[in-house]
Structure formats: C-alpha cells, structure tokens
Symmetry: C2
Subunit: 425 residues, 2 copies
C-alpha cells in the first residue's frame, strides 16, 4: 500500500473529522487560536492540529506563529562527496513536504522480494495530525570552509560575509560539544512527538551523510511571533516577547529579518535569514530567592501583568521617560531597557523555548532558555543586542553555554524545488 498523498490519519482509513476538527475550529489559518492578550494562556498550542504550508517565499518556522514545542538538531556532514550531500537535501525536502502535511516520511510496510522492507517511516507519529509542524533548515559557516580553510564542497566563495562564527562575550561558558554544526534543522510543532519524529526521520534519511552533533528539546515557547498569540512566560516567571517582531509587521521584518536583494550572499540567500542559537542556563535557585521588587527591577516589567514599570498593562508603551521618585521607572540596567530597539538600535525576531535537562549534579535543576533569534545580519542583530547587554542586571542570573549561527535559505517554492537548490545549483 502506497502512502503517497495520504495524511497519516487517512492512512488508517479514518475520517479525522472528529475531535481534532472541533478543537482546531478556533485556530484559523494555522494561528494558535488564543487571542486577546491578557486572556489566560489556556490550552497550549497543541490544540492547533492543522498543517502549516511547507512552501513559500520564506521558509516556514520563522514568522509562523510560534508553536509550543521544539526539537532543534545540528549536524555535521561526514561525507566529502558533494553529490551525496545534494541527494540527501533533496530526500530531506521530499520527506519534509510529507511530514509537514501530516503524512509519514515514507512508506511503512512496503514489500521487497516477498519480504516486508525496512520501513521508510519510524512510525511513532502514525496516528498524529500535522500539529503545525514546521521544518526550517540552515547552513553553518563550517559547511563552506572548515576551520582549517579547506573548501569541502566547492562552496567557499559562496559564503556570505555575515555567516561567521560569533565573537566571544563576557561571562559566557561555551561548550563546543553543543555548539556549531554544518547544518541545522529546527522542528517546531504543537505536539512534541511530531517534532521528535520529524528530526529522527531526517537523521535517518541522512545516515552516512550527516551525523548528529547536538540536539535540544524545548517544551514551552518563550516568545510570540504573531500578535494573535498570547505572550507566554519564561522560567523567570515573566511574560517574554511582548515587544518581539511580529508576523503582522512586514516592513520591520524586511528591515530586520529577511536578507534583501542587495545584501551579501543574496544570489542564493535573498528571502532567507540568519538564525543564532544560544543555550542560556538560568540560575533558577538564585532567581527564586530574589524579592519581587528585585526581579521586576531586573527585568523592567511587572511580573503579573507584564507591564513596563511605571505603566499598567502589558502592551502599554515602553517609555523610558517615565519617572518614579525622580528615577527612571524602568532602570537603565534592566533587561528591557538595554534590549529594547530604542536603546539597542536594532531588533531581532526571537523564537526561543524553555528547557529542563534534568539536574546538574549539584542539586539544582539544569534549566533555562534555548534562545533562537532570526535576523538579516548576525552582526547588526544578535551581536549588537548582546553587546548592549554587557551591563544587563539579568547577567547575574544567566550564563550562555552554547552558541551557533546558520544561514537559512529562502523558502522552497515549486514542486521541484529543494532545500539548498539556490546554493548548490
């Protein structure tokens, strides 16, 4: 039985119009269906079972309303054969088209030579709907030139200047084992099993061509990327991403997120973006012993409402002129003050997730933020913001432990297009 064109649900001959349809009814156009800011963040986005279109001018998974769960994987290419790499990217694209549409990655139960063959899908998502799955690919600096300067795949002269290793920042403790990578795939979905399934099946398709370098699960989105989404809370207990760039502001996205036609590398990267990932360990136990006043002065917003200090509601304007007792209501070293476009001079699209990776052997939870940000140029995006945060009061409570940067090509368009075509053709 061929699964071509069948959704995972229809694969089992089921109507699929029951529970899923009812529950997704409130979620128009792939948005997450939780609307008015200030309303409770009722059921997480796993209520959005619909598919997000895979093709388009830009890759899905960047301004797509942030799904609730993440599986991010970075891979190293282990072959020297450019043709093998291209073949894998084509196979990945075909599988990504299928999986983001709620189908399996390939056939389960094909018969070869009278025997059931090795399944082309690992099966754990067979009964699950598309769940808003997006798969977003990126190419790391080392794909173009190794650290030793070797031009591995004839791509050395295609590397755009902005695709360079990030500089060091004060206070960080970067672990190379969970940093960098030749390729990345960001899988976001409203069901973690769907995101995990997608990464696993791509890794499986890449056997002999790529090897997993590191991977990270995130359980809760920490930013909104659409004004239709309620603002979630990070593990500091604060609303996060209120003033994030949003899908509904295309001019700002053109200015700060999408690579333009006259940018470096535009011949293959126009319409794409750069993604920076940073694993940020939160010193949860220290934070939890700080007073509410300390916490709010550190962030620059109130904890419950998420209002800028000196204001009443979450979406009140961030106004650095407001004073309380002759001092700025929003302290000048608070995170909001230093990160805000007004003071940092730039903006990035944040798309991070909370993580808990067990405990750290010292009786503490190993938890924090897996920071993901998209920008038109890492130097004028993340790097500029991060440099401005050197005196951030929040630095007392966080430490960056991983770092990576990837160039994300534009979206796959026609039925014959594939991930990386503009780079490799």
């Amino acid at each position: 039985m061929s699964a071509e064109g069948l959704s995972r649900r229809r694969f089992f001959g089921l109507a699929g119009a029951g529970t899923a349809g009812v529950i997704a009814a409130g979620a128009a156009g792939g948005a997450i269906g939780r609307a008015t800011a200030g309303e409770p963040l009722a059921p997480p986005a796993s209520t959005a079972t619909d598919a997000v279109p895979f093709t388009g001018e830009h890759q899905a998974g960047i301004v797509t309303p942030a799904q609730d769960r993440l599986h991010f994987v970075a891979l190293d290419v282990i072959t020297d054969d450019r043709a093998e790499l291209v073949e894998m990217l084509q196979a990945w694209t075909a599988a990504a088209r299928r999986m983001t549409a709620g189908q399996d990655a390939g056939e389960v139960g094909a018969v070869e030579g009278g025997q059931y063959a090795v399944p082309d899908d690992t099966g754990e998502a067979l009964d699950l709907p598309a769940s808003g799955l997006t798969l977003t690919i990126g190419f790391g600096p080392t794909l173009f030139t190794t650290a030793d300067g070797v031009d591995r795949f004839g791509l050395a002269d295609r590397r755009p200047g902005p695709l360079a290793e990030l500089p060091a920042f004060p206070g960080e403790a970067i672990d190379p084992a969970i940093s960098g990578g030749d390729l990345c795939v960001q899988a976001c979905a409203n069901d973690p099993q769907v995101a995990v399934h997608a990464v696993r099946n791509l890794v499986r398709l890449g056997a002999g061509v790529v090897s997993v370098r590191w991977s990270q699960l995130g359980f809760g989105r920490t930013s909104s990327t659409s004004s239709a989404q309620a603002t979630p809370r990070n593990l500091f207990g604060f609303k996060d991403g209120t003033d994030n760039l949003k899908a509904e502001a295309p001019k700002a996205l053109d200015q700060f997120v999408w690579v333009a036609d006259d940018d470096p590398g535009a011949d293959w990267l126009a319409g794409g973006s750069y993604v920076v990932t940073r694993k940020i360990r939160m010193r949860i136990e220290q934070w939890d012993t700080a007073t509410l006043a300390d916490q709010e002065q550190t962030i620059g917003r109130t904890k419950k409402a998420g209002a800028p200090l000196g204001q009443a509601a979450e979406f009140d304007p961030v106004d650095f002129a407001v004073q309380v007792d002759g001092q700025p209501a929003i302290p000048v070293r608070s995170h909001v003050a230093l990160a805000h476009p007004t003071n940092s001079g730039t903006a990035i699209l944040r798309r991070g997730y909370s993580f808990v990776d067990g405990s750290d052997g010292l009786g503490r939870l190993d938890a924090g933020l897996f920071f993901i940000a998209y920008q038109r140029d890492p130097e004028t995006g993340f790097v500029q913001v991060q440099r401005n945060l050197r005196t951030d009061a929040m630095n007392e409570y966080v430490q960056h432990t991983s770092s990576a940067v990837f160039a994300c090509p534009p979206g796959v368009t026609g039925p014959d297009d594939w991930w990386g075509r503009t780079l490799f053709s």
Copy 2:
C-alpha cells in the same frame, strides 16, 4: 492581595470560561477525552485543562488516566533533623493541594516591611489552567536506612521488606548519578510547563532540607491507564500498553497494584503502592534499520494496527496458540510473549514516557523510554517481569541505564492530612 482559594486564572480576575471550557468539554472526569480505540490520537491530552482531585484513598497519578507530559524528580534529604523533614512534607502537601487545583504554590507580591517579599510562587504557570496536574510522592529505601545502616530519621523499623534496592539484571548499565534517591515526586500534566513549575516550586520549598539528585522530563506518554484512552506509540513506533492494567479493572488493581491491609508495612503503606523507574535507552538507529517483519516479530504485534500477530485488530485477544506455518504467530521470544501476564505470571501498571535528551556525542539521538511501573510488591511485580524478559528479542535494541524504587504512601484524605503522615506519626 492574597491568592488563597483563587485559581491561577481567577487570580487575574478573568472569567476563564472561554477557550479552556470549550476545549475541555469532551473530557469528562479528568479523562483525556479521546475515546474509541483506533481513532486517531488527535490533539495530545493538553486539551484536558481540568483539575484532577488531589485527595483520595489512593494518591492521584497512579491510575489517573496518564497525562501526556512528565517531570519526575528524585531528591536526597540533606538535613539530619526529622522535624525539618516533616515540616517540609507538610509544606509540600499544602503547595500540592494548591497547584493541582490550578492555583499558584503561594502568594506572588506579598508585602513585608513595606517591600515586596520573595514570591512564594515562581510565576511561570500563572496564566495556565490546572492541566490535569497530579503530584505523587514516594519514599526510597535510603530514607529508612543509609547504605551504611544508619537509622537517619528513626524510620529503620518502618521499612517494609519489599522496599529494597532492585537486583542487577543482565545487560544493564546503571548510572548511579541518575538512580536511587531518598524521595521522589512524579509530576504529570497535560502541559509540560505546569509539570515543570510544580517540581520547581516543591524543590524551592525544600531548600536546605532536600537536594535534587536527578530529574527526568518525558514528552509523550507510552501507556494508557484507562480504557477511555487511545493507545499511544513509543519511540519504536509501536502502540504500547494495549494490555496494561487499567483504572476500570479495580479487582486487578487490588491484586497487582495496591498494598493490602495484610502486606508488609501495611500500618503506613496500605492503599499505597511501589513505583519502579528505569531509564531505558533505545538503540534507535539499529531499530530503524530493521525490516518491518523483524520489528513485528521482536514486539509480537503488528506495527500499524497494533494487533497481536495472527490477529487483525489491536484489542483482539493475545492468543499464543495461534499458529502460522506451524510456528506460533507470536514468537516465544517476542516482547509481548514474555511480558504478558499469561507467561510472566504477574502484572504491573505501566505509566512510562518517551524521552529525548539531546545526542550522545557519537552522532546518535539519546532517546528512549523512561519506564515507570506501579505494583503491590516490586519482587513479584517489575523484578519478576524483568527476569522473564532475559531472553526478550527486544534486548538487542534497549539498555537500562537507571534504576530506582520508592514506596508511595496512600492518598491524602482530610484537609489536615499530609504526605507521609502515616509514616512519620
């Protein structure tokens, strides 16, 4: 403003009758609202936003229909003062009552001496509904007597015989750093942020009394504990837990799960149970290169339908007499054959979760099953089943890397009752 008696939602003065109510409408009595077996496993159980009652004859979180997300934590007691431990258990109980009802663990924004005090809740679940949260406590063998035989808290003569370290099994590679523990708390919820929040706030309340020994997140339930639930799939891609003990079979639960009035330790443990946890690494890459026929012969069921081999549908009886070509349809060394009550002579209530903990440094996903099982006696429960699995064909694809056992007291009953009262009073 006191948060006493207010739900987290009402804490913000919101009706809370909107989205959440609509979505939870199909989920009666805390069940997960996906019904008929064979229907698609539509949106994960995060659609169940309701509260599960905290009090009762038995602790919640054992036969409660398995929620979709897990945060399990094991802790070591770092005080020698029995009174401090008792005080913490009482504070934990109060917080658990609140959090399982969808409230915060304590007040955020209390004013002491004219200053905002340290918040009594960390805040990251402030906008979230109860989400089916259950918190289940257990006491490890080392709480009663240290490995050196020291009677730490005057409990040595209260240790029931069955509460003993598990024996070694062939092929396992147990890591002590993620095994054992004086106490455990299993937090299950339909929203991972709610489970993580609960564990974090209990750990915070236990500062100076307990220290986190290990903790584990699970993203997808791998068993049903109610016949109202559809059977989920594990990371082998197979339906798991079809023949699990179920809440709807109270006689079997009395026989196999609950400690009875004439069992060892019944003076404090009657109505309780024992939980065994095992982290089981799956050799995903090896499994994914096996043919479908090999996989099905290893498990003893079909991959798509989950039917016992030789039968057609998932809930068809497991019949070891059925033959195909003169051989048992279900191979004698298959996992189903060896684990089934018919052949193992016993039954356990499985309640495990899938995990992905990143990658292993060798290019492979670090993934598998965090196995959790409840039983009346570990020796005649997990240990007996596991011994019967020594020739299990599945052993080629799995390795146990952690082990723990805890005695879980009966449920908290009246408003003055607390976790461990029967043991410490």
